[in-house]
């Protein structure tokens, strides 16, 4: 998600991650990445790159280097605590015939 290691800054601008709110009432969603020299131009590039057809009403740009991510894949024990707690889902509980509004 954070992309490659920091590029050689003399050869390319820093990498930014772009988040687009498609319309009011929705959360910003990751749309992709781009290179830009600063936040101001990152927003302009994001507009030109990810909202050419009115796909968004609001944009966030975040330096890719500022994102902290979990480790590589889902096999990580980091997510284990949730793996053995099926009772957190309502479907875990069998209901007797006739139980309603439950």
């Amino acid at each position: 998600m954070t992309g490659p290691p920091a590029p050689d800054a003399r050869r390319d601008w820093p990498l930014w991650e772009v988040f687009v709110r498609a319309r009011r009432g929705l959360a910003h969603t990751h749309a992709g990445s781009l290179h830009a020299p600063d936040a101001h131009l990152a927003l302009h590039h994001a507009r030109d790159l990810y909202t050419r057809r009115g796909e968004g009403v609001s944009l966030w740009v975040v330096p890719a280097a500022a994102i902290t991510a979990t480790s590589p894949d889902e096999k990580d024990p980091f997510f284990d605590p949730a793996a053995d707690k099926p009772y957190r889902h309502p479907a875990f509980f069998a209901l007797p015939e006739g139980a309603e509004h439950l």
Binding site: M1, G3, P4, P5, A6, P7, D8, A9, R10, R11, D12, W13, P14, L15, F19, G32, S33, L34, H35, P37, D38, A39, H40, L41, A42, L43, D48, L49, R52, R53, S58, L59, W60, V61, V62, P63, A65, A66, A69, S71, P72, D73, E74, K75, P77, F79, D80, A83, D84, K85, P86, H89, A91, F92, F93, A94
Partner: protein
């Protein structure tokens, strides 16, 4: 046409778009953990490697399981080096094609026959730049840098699609190019929306949705010409004569001669053979040509009821090889133009970096609610300016 009732009848453009939508939906709904039932064991997800770091055999097994289950590989997952290399080569070639592919049509921007056609063509060329940028970004998730990919393009170490090396001699060529080569690109790219590599699949969904505008405006442009004067009709026919085979050649060499196909198909980076896609393209294209009143330049083109497909003369693969190797009509011109554009843009990139370095105070975007969105300037910009 009776072939529409044939069980093997090819899908039209609408069906291709529906496939893009289906792939998009699949991307959004895949991986969702199935809620466990009352009898569930809690093993809702995939088996987890507890504690110890798995060795390479374990990682490879996990990778192959993800592919076999038709799920997506994501950037920081373990992947075989050859998978990474193949993807970089494929995505970079695709990105380069979008960027260099702006040139044949850009030639006609200032000479478009009307303001409407000019603005449409401008929007299309701008889209190609955008597609290149989505794709370079997808390639970068594999650990390469855009600057290095551009170097490889400029030095001829990486390629772009061969058709871009043909000239657009008349206005009708911009229409024929869009109708045929963008049409071929869509047939090629729609299956890539289901590529096993997540960032590439996501980029391709965007690309395909936008590409269908390119395709349709090309058809519309030819429609206008074929409903115009005899001279305009002739211009359209001659352009189709020029672009038919470069478009057919876009699908690459026949499957038996394609060096990368087998492994790429096993990895679900590629999902159909070159020959299957080429056939699909011809099947889609011929009825459209009939609507336009234009004739593809192939005396052997005819519907084959037994096969449920059109028979056609394949492109000249020796010519394709020559053009890929640099000996097409415009190879040197395209690459020289690309290098010049890059060099002449250097001062803009440097000025923007210098400006960024000078204004390293936190910048607040136009959306004050974005409190979780740090918009400060990266330190790297200062290094860039100092260089």
């Amino acid at each position: 046409m009776d072939k529409d009732e044939h069980p093997l009848a090819p899908p039209g453009a609408g069906e291709l778009l529906a496939e893009v939508e289906a792939a998009h939906t699949a991307l959004r709904t895949a991986h969702r953990t199935t809620p466990p039932t009352a009898t569930g064991t809690g093993a809702a997800g995939t088996p987890h490697g507890h504690g110890t770091a798995p060795d390479e055999a374990g990682l490879r097994a996990h990778f192959e399981k993800v592919i076999a289950d038709d799920r997506k590989i994501e950037p920081r997952d373990w992947m075989p080096d050859a998978y990474r290399r193949t993807l970089v080569r494929q995505i970079a070639q695709h990105a380069h094609s979008e960027i260099v592919g702006m040139q044949p049509e850009a030639n006609w921007l200032t000479r478009a026959p009307s303001l409407a056609r000019k603005t449409i063509l401008l929007a299309k060329v701008q889209d190609e730049a955008g597609h290149g940028l989505y794709l370079y970004a997808a390639a970068e998730t594999l650990g390469v840098h855009r600057a290095d990919l551009l170097d490889a393009l400029h030095e001829g170490r990486q390629r772009y699609l061969s058709f871009i090396n043909y000239p657009t001699l008349t206005w009708a060529d911009t229409g024929a190019l869009a109708w045929l080569t963008d049409g071929a690109a869509i047939v090629n790219q729609v299956p890539l929306c289901r590529s096993s590599y997540g960032p590439y699949a996501r980029a391709m969904v965007r690309v395909c949705k936008e590409e269908s505008f390119h395709h349709r405006q090309g058809f519309d442009s030819l429609w206008a010409l074929t409903h115009g004067t005899p001279a305009q009709r002739q211009m359209a026919q001659e352009a189709v004569d020029r672009w038919w085979y470069p478009a057919l050649a876009m699908f690459g060499p026949p499957h038996h001669a394609s060096v990368h196909s087998e492994q790429s198909m096993a990895w679900r980076i590629k999902r159909f053979t070159n020959d299957e896609l080429r056939q699909r393209f011809v099947d889609i294209c011929v009825p459209q040509a009939e609507l336009l009143g234009l004739t593809p330049p192939d005396a052997h083109l005819r519907w084959n009821d037994d096969r449920g497909h059109y028979d056609f003369t394949p492109p000249d693969f020796d010519e394709l090889t020559r053009v890929i190797k640099g000996d097409g009509p415009c190879n040197r011109q395209r690459l020289a133009h690309r290098r010049r554009a890059h060099d002449e843009g250097a001062w803009v990139r440097e000025a923007a970096a210098a400006h960024a370095a000078k204004h390293r105070t936190p910048h607040h975007g136009p959306h004050p609610a974005a409190t979780t969105a740090p918009a400060t300037v990266d330190e790297a910009a200062a290094d860039e300016a100092a260089a």
